[in-house]
Symmetry: C2
Subunit: 250 residues, 2 copies
């Protein structure tokens, strides 16, 4: 880090609808692109931000975390205000604070919480972008929670991963600390906390748990799939728009 | 009504974002235009629908009601499904049922409930389209509720109306049955039930109550404005996107 520069940690929320996901790409229109473009104006020099991880197009975040370095002589509040002022309506900077020089949004993370939002029936128009509408299908919540139990703890989650297609590899062993299904009226939420996630893992787990809830696969099948450590066509990937990155733990 | 035709009552919900309001207009892109276009396909003849009233561009509805006439020999459920299938994602037909021949969505209505949604602070990205964000401003909810009291009952609400600009006139005397302000966390809701409303009346009442909540005008000023029966520049019109038509009473 250059003399005078400071590491910053920021927490942001976004409505993933209409963006091409978190990660910067040549076509632009990503959350990262918009935040970096704004920071470049504020710091009058290119600024690279580092997110806790990517989110796909259409996925939302309540508490995505990123860090960056920059020299700022004014109060932090002014930086916050300057950054907030120049972003699209769908992106919100909730907090920004000084961080230790060795803080890293991705590598310092000890875990993450996601939730996946489902709706029994047709979701109202103002919720369709934020959940997966199940129409006439009804889920057996107890069966789903029972099937989730064997997935808790440390496992090789290869069966619920997907190939990113860019040659990147990831350690498939993750510690699943929480995986539960809650229902309130027509709204169903799958909540997961783990040390980390493979690409499309939450959406694959959701697809698998929904299949259990619909009686298409048995709870034991889910355990067998996990043990097989191989992706099977029997696991559907749930649509992106129901997925929310809720919180990153440090 | 032609022989064989039947009057239908339908309840619909919509996300007003991106539509040019309820009422059909030459430029199209209104809720009424989309529903009529779909019904014309289903009935193979032009169908005119009659709403309980207009909503402006950006205003949402949980329970807008409309009626229309059409000859349908199949189960009502099939009509419902056919209508639902061909509408934009932002429009939802909640219910459709046979109505008596003299039912009229507008003239048979005995009252309507609206709510106006406010947010103290910056609303998260997925709520900005559905409320009015107050930023750093804080409202005195008790003062607002106290100021609302004298508006209950039958009054000439000309002070809170606006000229539609199309020469239409409306009886300014309305029976205000409910006008209350509720707060839950950062979310504030103004709920109103009345026999009817003048053009922009709920948004004007909201603007006036917010001014009271901010201490810009006193509760007595509000009563004086009502008594004056004349629109004053001191009343701001709240933005459209916080307004919801909740329910039409018959």
């Amino acid at each position: 880090m250059k003399v005078g520069t400071q590491r910053w940690k920021a927490v942001c929320a976004y409505d993933g609808t209409g963006f091409n996901g978190w990660q910067s790409q040549p076509g632009g229109n990503t959350i990262q692109d918009f935040i970096e473009a704004r920071l470049a104006v504020i710091f009058e020099t290119p600024v690279r931000i580092h997110g806790s991880g990517r989110t796909d197009a259409g996925v939302h975040a309540r508490g995505q975390v990123f860090h960056f370095d920059g020299a700022w002589k004014h109060p932090t509040e002014h930086l916050h205000r300057a950054l907030k002022a120049g972003l699209p309506q769908g992106i919100q900077i909730a907090r920004i604070a000084k961080a230790k020089p060795d803080f890293h949004a991705r590598y310092s993370a000890t875990g993450k919480r996601y939730f996946y939002s489902l709706f029994e029936g047709d979701a109202p128009p103002w919720e369709t972008r934020y959940c997966w509408s199940l129409g006439r299908r009804r889920l057996d919540i107890d069966a789903m929670n029972a099937a989730a139990q064997p997935l808790l703890g440390e496992h090789d989650f290869s069966a619920f991963g997907a190939n990113r297609g860019d040659g990147s590899e990831d350690n498939p062993v993750k510690d699943m600390r929480r995986l539960e299904v809650r229902k309130r009226g027509p709204k169903i939420m799958i909540i997961t906390e783990a040390s980390g996630y493979l690409y499309k893992m939450v959406r694959s787990l959701t697809g698998a748990l929904v299949s259990v809830g619909l009686g298409k696969i048995a709870a034991e099948d889910l355990s067998a799939m996990l043990a097989a450590k191989q992706r099977t066509h029997r696991i559907e990937t749930a649509p992106a728009q129901g997925l929310w990155l809720d919180k990153v733990f440090y």
